[in-house]
Structures are given as C-alpha cells and as structure tokens.
C-alpha cells in the first residue's frame, strides 16, 4: 500500500471485506477486525469501481462522465475517499494479491 494514494493507484476491494448495498448506501464488514463501515451513496459508487482493473485517474474520468462533471472537480474527493478506505484496511494491498 503506497504511503500516499495518487492517480496511478489501482484500488481493489479487500478479499476480507463483505459488502452489501441497501437503498444506495453501502455497509462493509471487515472479517479481520469485525468492524462495520457505513458508506454514503458516493462512496458506495466508488467502492463498486474498485475491481483492481483500473487506476484511479481512469475511475475519476468514468465517474465524471457519469455525473456530468469535469474530472478536476471530483478528483480530490475520490483520492481522499480512497486514502481513507486504504487507511481503514479495507483495500487489498500488493501483499494480498
């Protein structure tokens, strides 16, 4: 896991994390810690994009297009949200691959 998440980072949902979506909001269950995490609708959409196939800049471009916004307008929020999920141990890092 890089110290600082940037646009080239390829996020992947942690294999140890179970997730459900209810009325557009996600709930994550970390099997390692037993902790639950509540995601707002935007973070829920972001979580669904973390399939290990695209770098963050590509995800930003896709989401910007879907929301009708310029990529620069959402890039900071996407990086910050990803950093938070990584710090909470919810993403797979290279050692888990």
């Amino acid at each position: 896991m890089p110290d600082r998440i940037d646009g080239g980072y390829v996020p992947r949902r942690g294999a140890h994390v179970a997730s459900v979506e209810l009325d557009g909001e996600g709930v994550l269950y970390d099997e390692r810690t037993g902790d639950l995490h509540l995601l707002n609708p935007t973070a829920t959409v972001l979580w669904s994009c973390f399939d290990g196939a695209e770098a963050l800049d590509e995800i930003v471009a896709t989401l910007a297009d879907a929301f009708g916004q310029p990529p620069g307008g959402i890039r900071g929020d996407v990086l910050a949200a990803t950093q938070q999920l990584a710090e909470q141990g919810l993403l797979d890092d290279d050692d888990d691959a």
Binding site: A18, V20, L22, E25, G26, V27, Y29, L36, L38
Partner: protein, 299 residues
Amino acid sequence: MRPAASLGPAAAPPVPGPVQQTRTFRALEHTFAVRSNDAAIARHVEDIFADLTVDEAPGGTYLLADLGTDDTPRFLLRWGDEHLARTVAPGRALSMLQWHVNQRAVSSTTGHLLLHAAAAEWAGGALALPAPMNAGKTTLVAALVDDGFGYLTDETLALDRDTLRVRPYPKPLSIDPGSREVLARLRPDVHASLRTTLEWQWHVPASSIRPGAVVGPTPLRWVVAPRYELGATTRLEPLARAEAVLVLAGQSFDQPLGAGGFRALADVVRQCACSRLVVGDLAAAATMIGHLVRKGPDA
C-alpha cells in the same frame, strides 16, 4: 458456542423436607425444570414461566430451596451440580434463576442470530426493538402487548438464519422498579410468603397481561430502535436501512458477527421499515408504534 456463567460444582447442603418438581419449560434450546422444597416457590415458578411450558422431559433441573436456617443466606439456587447463588431473600434467588435461564438460552441456541432486542407482533409481522440494557425495551413491549400486540420476547430476539423469522422466546417480562409506576396494573399477585419478591424484579408472563398474547414464528417487518430520554418529546424518526444494519449488529450476542451473520442481518433489514424512536412518554410511544404498524411495512 457462547459461554454460560457458573461458579462451578460444589457439594450441595442438605435440603429439608420433600422436594417437588415443576413442569418442563423451554427457553429457546434450553429446557429445564425447577425443584423446590417450598410449595409457594414451586407454584410461583410455574406461574412466571407459564408461557414457556412444554410437554417434554427437561434437559436439566434447577434446585431453588429454602434451607430454613436463621443466620445464613437461606435460599439456595443450583443448576445440576453447579452452585449458582445463596441469598437472603427469595426474590433475589428468583431473579438469579431468570438470569441464568437467559444465559443458558443464549449459550445453548445455534442456527440463530441472537440480538439484544424486544419484539412484538402485529398482523403477522414482527417488530424488533433493539437497544442496550435499561433503554426501556421491556416497558415498551409490555405496553404494546397491553395494546393488543402479540408477544415474542422482551430481551433476546432469536432470528432463524434460514427462514429469517423471529423465533418466539416468550420469557416472563422482567419489570424493574423504575418502570413500576407506569406499569402499575401489571403488578403480579404472589403468595404472602413471597411478597418480598416484589421488591426485586416483577416477573410477569405475557399471558397474564393479555390471554393469547404469545405468538408463533413471525417474519420481521419493522425495526424500531428505542431510546428513552426523560422529558423529551416522543418522536419517530426515519432510520436508513444501512444504518439499521449497524444498529442490529451492535446488539448481536455474537461478537464478532461473522460475514454470514452480517449478510443475514442485511437480508432481513431489506424486508423491514426502519425507524428510531425517542421515548419521553410511554403511552405516546406505544401510540406512535401502533400508527406505524397500521400503515403497513411498505409505507
């Protein structure tokens, strides 16, 4: 398996007089009978556990005996060979019995999600009231039963993992001193020798509040998370289903919950209407819940 508490095996003191045994009672997967040398205690146990009576042999027996000594705690409570308590007052021993029955019900029961929640039934749908201790669950569910709701439990909600139905655990409602004023009409009638038990908890079977109140397995349709707040305006507030999963998970007896338990909770919440309830006045709270369920779970 969830651990059950005990003080371990110990030699039993001699019990004076003949000992009689009650019928068998079932608390989820914990079946038991109670033996006593005091006829009034035996009859009282039959009365308070009336809604748990089953026609089968018990898995074990408690002994709740009056040792009749003058200068030591005289009421003895044992579970098989295990010493549980020795108390000055019969009411304390009866409360310990109820506590141990609940502990064994939780530790013995598998195949279910067990939540710290009360539950009532309306028109074939179950309403869960998840909350920590002293949040007013028993008081609220007693008021609902009095208002015509069916009774499922006042403390331990058992959700079948396969069917997602609430399995009834119609234990006697354990009414603490703080709730007696608002539930004064539920004061139990007890034998003169047991009047001091009323200083402890009141143990009130739901069938004594309203005959026929106990219902069968019921699908969960509403989650209402209560919170008692002195002087507050009683109000019902929407609770997002995602947040309701966290509320229920926080009241699970299984910690950690496990991925299977997590998904089961999410599946059951999908079929529920969810709310938070701030309780300032019991009657108002019961009325609000009545309006909620009459709208139906999809409203």
